[in-house]
């Protein structure tokens, strides 16, 4: 559907997923959806293809085990659920039943980061560290609702597993005009050009990164925002290029543990490629079990809100 959205409009990533899967279900008669009891996202698919939809109830392990069995038979299963549970309760099934035989199972879910106010049982804050450790796994974290649809579409051709992390997905800011960026799994997106410092981010904090860049533009700073929506494989060439083009100054912002997520992925590239930096700042969740509050309050409390982001960028530019 050729609808154009503009930045700051809101759209439900969940409904995009539902519409996209329902559309792909026609093209791919071997596409299945499986959920440990969050059918809402998959309502359209379920209505259209009830024989390729499974709700196993509250049982993450078997949801991934069944997906593995379906994939062994040549199907493309998409498992949709809440990431704190899928990424941890079903971690071994993801590793041994999906990644080990390298099957085209997609794991997609919500509650990546300190979102939803459910408390620490319900925040997936270490999921990217866990998923990036898995051989054969491709790991993505997506902030733009329409991009989710595009990534799902591309993923139909993938032969191995894929992880897609979303925030809550009920109402997500549209960041990109359709066709504005060439979206390719494995390639970072320069969401905003800039030359003084690069702000790398992914998922739910892309909107905040763009806002921080906008604020600093008002006082004459040129901040490049890179949406590194694929964490694995990491776009190492883009990291090298950003170091060259933004004076060796990096800030990484993410709604994930500050150690183990994107910042660590980038730090690995920096070391492996021998990149020399003037500044490297990490903004993310400290090693604590976070309490309650809304998303913005929690980011502020734990030091990776808008104000902290602006301060970190200024520090990086003056280092």
């Amino acid at each position: 559907m050729p609808v154009t959205f503009t930045f700051s409009e809101f759209l439900s990533a969940r409904s995009v997923i539902g519409d996209t899967l329902a559309e792909l279900g026609d093209e791919y008669p071997n596409l299945w959806t499986i959920t440990p009891e969050i059918g809402a996202t998959l309502g359209e698919f379920r209505a259209k293809f009830p024989d390729r939809f499974i709700d196993v109830g509250i049982a993450e392990q078997v949801s991934v085990g069944i997906a593995s069995g379906l994939a062994y038979e040549g199907n493309i299963p998409v498992v949709s659920g809440m990431l704190p549970f899928l990424s941890m309760r079903a971690l071994e099934q993801i590793r041994s039943d999906v990644c080990y035989p390298n099957l085209p199972v997609k794991i997609i879910g919500t509650h990546g980061g300190l979102v939803g106010n459910g408390g620490s049982t319900h925040y997936a804050v270490e999921d990217l560290a866990l998923m990036c450790a898995l051989t054969n796994m491709t790991v993505t974290s997506i902030g733009d609702p329409l991009m989710v649809g595009e990534v799902l579409r591309q993923s139909m051709k993938m032969t191995g597993p894929l992880y897609i992390r979303l925030a809550v997905g009920k109402s997500d800011m549209v960041l990109y005009q359709q066709g504005e960026h060439d979206i390719q799994i494995g390639k970072g997106i320069i969401a905003r050009p800039g030359y003084d410092v690069t702000l790398f981010t992914h998922g739910t904090t892309v909107a905040q990164a763009l806002e921080a860049a906008e604020k600093l533009a008002g006082i004459g700073h040129s901040v490049r925002v890179v949406d590194m929506f694929t964490l694995k494989p990491i776009d190492a060439d883009l990291i090298v290029r950003c170091a060259e083009e933004t004076d060796g100054r990096f800030v990484v912002l993410e709604d994930h543990l500050a150690y183990g997520g994107l910042a660590s992925r980038i730090a690995d590239v920096v070391v492996d490629r021998g990149i020399s930096l003037k500044a490297f700042e990490r903004l993310g969740i400290p090693q604590v079990f976070a309490g309650f509050g809304d998303d913005e309050q929690l980011r502020d409390k734990y030091g990776y809100g808008l104000t902290s982001t602006v301060s970190a960028l200024i520090r990086a530019m003056s280092a």
């Binding site: 049982a59 078997v62 085990g65 069944i66 593995s68 379906l70 062994y72 039943d97």
Partner: protein, 291 residues
């Protein structure tokens, strides 16, 4: 290694033929256990030897010359540590070369290892080894068959100790909910875990009642009685039926070798030359008794 010694054996027809094959499988297992320097899960291999012969040489509709035939029955070894017993049972049917298994088992670069890997050994249906994973995979395979209108069955072989894993019961519920009458699980009820007897630390009983209460069709079997296993296979409910079937096969860990039977010491191990002779003699004496 060239697979020159593979001979595709037709399905066995009689109980006696199957018994002979089970005897041969045990001999081959002991030989491997006596020649391979590492550890073999010999106890749990010997407890499923008859079941694997009954399946690979009678029950399963499979073709060693066409391992990807969509119409084939699927078999998932949920107790993945009995892999070598499965490899040899399959080799005896013509899937693999027994000589190659013996020559390379557990060696660097071999496809034949302690737990089956589908990527390295495409003749097996799934990569397993971590307990509690095979039945959920089998449920996915059975569900796929149903949706495509395929008429084959999906079999899984579980250890009784493995049913301590919660994911087995998640799968039991999922299979009942999806009315997968094309799914047949065999449970090797050998009453032993790695270091204990099942009822001593983990109470599995009432075991039949557990499966029945999850809505499964429950069949009791003597897992070492080929006549029993054959007749159960003959009378399995139609794959079109709506209840998954579990065959609870009463077995003896280490079956066929008196000093291994029901022994905690022989969950896994390696036979030296002397023990190998002793084990072979013990096995031989069982043939004389049954003959």
């Amino acid at each position: 290694m060239v697979d020159t010694d593979i001979t595709v054996r037709p399905k066995a027809r009689t109980v006696e033929e199957l018994e002979d094959l089970a005897f041969e499988l045990r001999q081959k297992l002991l030989h491997l256990c006596g020649t391979y320097e590492g550890v073999v899960h010999i106890g749990g291999d010997l407890s499923v030897a008859d079941i694997l012969i009954a399946l690979y040489h009678y029950g399963l509709n499979v073709d060693p010359e066409n391992i990807a035939d969509p119409k084939r029955d699927r078999f998932v070894l949920s107790k993945g540590h009995a892999a070598v017993c499965m490899y040899i049972a399959m080799a005896m049917r013509g899937f693999f070369s027994y000589d190659e298994i013996v020559a390379t088992y557990g060696q660097l670069g071999s496809a034949y290892g302690m737990h089956p890997c589908k990527v390295q050994l495409p003749g097996v249906e799934a990569s397993t080894g971590s307990l509690g994973h095979g039945l959920p995979i089998a449920v996915g395979m059975a569900k796929s068959a149903r949706q495509r209108g395929e008429k084959h069955r999906v079999f899984a072989l579980l250890g009784d100790g493995e049913t301590g894993e919660g994911s087995i019961w998640e799968a039991a519920m999922a299979a009942r909910s999806a009315e997968l009458g094309n799914l047949v699980a065999f449970v090797d009820r050998n009453h032993q875990l790695m270091t204990s007897f099942s009822e001593d630390r983990v109470v599995l009983e009432p075991f039949h009642g557990k499966w029945a209460s999850f809505g499964w069709n429950v069949i009791s079997a003597d897992g070492h009685n080929m006549k029993d296993l054959k007749s159960i296979i003959d009378s399995l409910p139609s794959p079109d039926s709506t209840r998954p079937t579990v065959v609870i096969a009463e077995t003896i860990k280490g079956k066929g070798v008196d000093f291994m039977e029901r022994s905690i010491a022989w969950h896994a191990g390696s036979l030296g030359k002397e023990d190998l002779e002793r084990a072979m003699a013990a096995l031989e004496s069982t043939r004389k008794v049954s003959a």
